[in-house]
């Protein structure tokens, strides 16, 4: 009787949240999956089932392949910059955690992660600007040829990677700092007694012991890298209004297909590809974690 009453309370209390979840999460996710195997061009009433045709077309679509390649380069580029840099930074900040400036170190790397994306991207756009930007001015000053950073196909992708890394770094440092705080102090003291230097204990103790955290941060960084959009959007137009080079990324291609070409079913199949990539990365993370747990 009492148990039944409690069960009723639990049910009534969780029902509103569950309903919202079903409405704004489960249903649209299901719709994405469903639309991806249908042909739906907003203007037409019927949505015929076309099986895998959208996906087959995707892999012959030059723009989609370009978007997928760019997005993958950006995601892995950000990963390669962020992980080593944040690991070293976190180690140094942790080493100096008793310093009076410790709060400044932490906050200064973290602020780029929290500030609004568009204004921050604007700052970088000015830095990269071919005519007005300080980067080219600096290059000229030291005698290097100025570059059209936001117009060159390769350089514009590098610009996106720089901007995304600048933002991702703070999060990675913060998570690593939590990791460093959880490492046993006694182990480092033992290593020190055995004559290990600071860099040695960093290399042989910290890095292996922080592996699960590295795995976690890597997956988070990659997943958010694959969802990159705003950064490419803002950098793509020149400060004077002249369009820069559009860095075609997955989300941009998806929105264009849906809202400019009115091919919603086709855009949904792109979303499904994005979902599969994210699922794959998550599975790899869990697989590697379990693998490690099994051996330990």
């Amino acid at each position: 009787m009492l148990r039944r009453k409690r069960w009723l309370f639990a049910l009534m209390a969780i029902l509103p949240t569950l309903a919202i979840f079903a409405w704004v999460r489960v249903y649209p996710i299901w719709e994405t999956l469903r639309l991806s195997v249908h042909k739906w061009d907003i203007l037409s009433k019927n949505k015929p089932f076309i099986g895998m045709a959208n996906f087959q077309e995707l892999f012959r679509d030059r723009l989609f392949i370009e978007a997928l390649t760019n997005t993958a380069i950006i995601a892995f580029g950000v990963l390669l910059v962020t992980i080593p840099l944040s690991l070293v930074l976190a180690a140094l900040i942790h080493y100096r955690s008793r310093s009076r400036l410790a709060a400044f170190y932490e906050t200064s790397v973290f602020i780029p992660h929290v500030v609004s994306l568009v204004p921050a991207a604007m700052a970088w756009k000015w830095i990269f600007d071919a005519k007005l930007g300080p980067l080219n001015a600096l290059l000229t000053f030291v005698g290097i040829e100025p570059q059209a950073w936001l117009f060159d196909p390769v350089l514009s992708i590098i610009c996106v990677i720089v901007l995304c890394s600048w933002q991702a770094l703070g999060y990675a440092v913060l998570i690593y700092l939590v990791g460093f705080k959880s490492l046993p102090v006694s182990l480092y003291e033992a290593a020190k007694l055995d004559g290990a230097s600071g860099p040695q204990s960093f290399w042989f103790l910290s890095i292996p012991m922080l592996k699960p955290i590295t795995l976690y941060v890597s997956v988070v960084t990659l997943v958010s890298g694959f969802n990159v959009y705003a950064q490419a959007y803002v950098l793509a137009s020149d400060a004077q209004g002249a369009p820069g080079r559009q860095v075609r990324v997955l989300v941009l291609d998806m929105l264009e297909n849906s809202f400019r070409n009115y091919r919603v079913g086709y855009a949904a199949s792109e979303a499904v590809v994005l979902l599969l990539i994210v699922l794959l990365l998550t599975l790899v993370q869990f697989g590697l974690l379990r693998d490690k747990g099994g051996r330990a």
């Binding site: 069960w7 309370f9 639990a10 049910l11 209390a13 969780i14 509103p16 949240t17 569950l18 919202i20 979840f21 704004v24 489960v26 649209p28 996710i29 719709e31 994405t32 639309l35 140094l92 100096r96 400036l101 170190y105 932490e106 200064s108 790397v109 602020i111 780029p112 929290v114 500030v115 609004s116 568009v118 921050a120 604007m122 700052a123 970088w124 000015w126 007005l132 300080p134 001015a137 000053f141 600048w166 913060l174 998570i175 700092l177 699960p212 976690y216 959009y229 705003a230 803002v234 137009s237 400060a239 209004g241 929105l255 849906s258 809202f259 919603v264 979303a271 994005l274 979902l275 998550t282």
Partner: protein, 284 residues
């Protein structure tokens, strides 16, 4: 004797510590430099923006850029929209996470496990994957171009539910709830008077996190809002900067108007924020 032996080692350590301090100090300043320049450009005359090397403190500070931006764009309206969106989103996320997190932590029923699995499974799916069908839901409800439409995507946060559930498991003793029940307290009273106060710290962290998440949202507000008066500040700025007549000073001024309050807010709420973000990494 031992002092003298320790001295060279101690000296070496101090030198290393100072070197690390310098590296971190320089790096921290470099991280902030783009933002510092952006704010300072907002106060510069067009000639000074082009000057090399760029100045950090403007020689002839001017408010002309700010006046021009406020005259050209509904900047304050955009900030108002963003504030309303972020506050409503935080409130909704706090309410749903507090209740669902507590129920999932403290009530052992098989049916609830199913609920938890559903929430867990959808948590992996990035927002970008289902944002297009969600757009059509908002359209069907007639919510496009409104804060309510934007809110549709930011009503719940899976991570928020996990965070509160984790906190409830660790910080609310079962005995406390049982004792209240024996004293005849109703379930709702227990939630309101015993559970909520104990979750205050976690809810504070989650609230700050949810606020910044909505405040910095971009893709979703961009597709939901297509009229200038319903833009959020992020969308408004992004579209404003594509205009042909916009110069750098005005763009920087508009950005500074957004950056200064949000950085101030962050520095004030830093502890809450860091606690919230740090707990994202501690899911296991």
């Amino acid at each position: 004797m031992s002092d003298r032996l320790a001295n060279p080692g101690r000296l070496r350590q101090i030198v290393i510590e100072r070197l690390i301090d310098i590296v971190l100090l320089v790096f921290g300043c470099l991280m902030l430099l783009p933002l510092v320049f952006l704010v300072s450009n907002g106060f510069k005359t067009p000639q000074e923006i082009l000057a090399w090397p760029p100045t950090i403190i403007p020689a002839n500070p001017t408010l002309a850029n700010f006046q021009a931006v406020l005259a050209d764009t509904p900047l304050l309206r955009w900030i108002g929209n963003s504030l309303l969106f972020a506050v409503l989103s935080s409130l909704s996320i706090l309410a749903t996470s507090a209740i669902a997190g507590y129920i999932l932590a403290k009530f052992q029923f098989r049916s609830l496990t199913v609920v938890f699995i559903v929430i867990l499974a959808t948590a992996i799916v990035p927002f970008e994957v289902y944002m297009i069908p969600l757009y059509f839901q908002a359209q069907a409800l007639g919510l496009l171009n409104s804060v309510w439409g934007m809110l549709l995507g930011y009503l719940v946060m899976s991570f928020g539910i996990f965070l509160i559930r984790q906190n409830a498991i660790h910080s609310i003793p079962d005995e406390l709830i049982e004792a209240a029940r024996i004293d005849g307290a109703g379930e709702f009273w227990i939630f309101l008077r015993i559970v909520l106060p104990l979750l205050r710290g976690a809810l504070g962290a989650l609230g700050v996190l949810a606020f910044f998440q909505a405040w910095t949202a971009f893709a979703w507000p961009l597709i939901v809002a297509s009229r200038a008066e319903s833009y959020t500040i992020e969308v408004g700025l992004a579209l404003f900067q594509t205009g042909f007549t916009v110069d750098l000073g005005r763009l920087s001024a508009a950005s500074a108007v957004v950056l200064i309050p949000s950085i101030t807010l962050f520095v004030i709420l830093r502890k809450n924020f860091v606690q919230g973000i740090a707990s994202t990494g501690l899911k296991e």
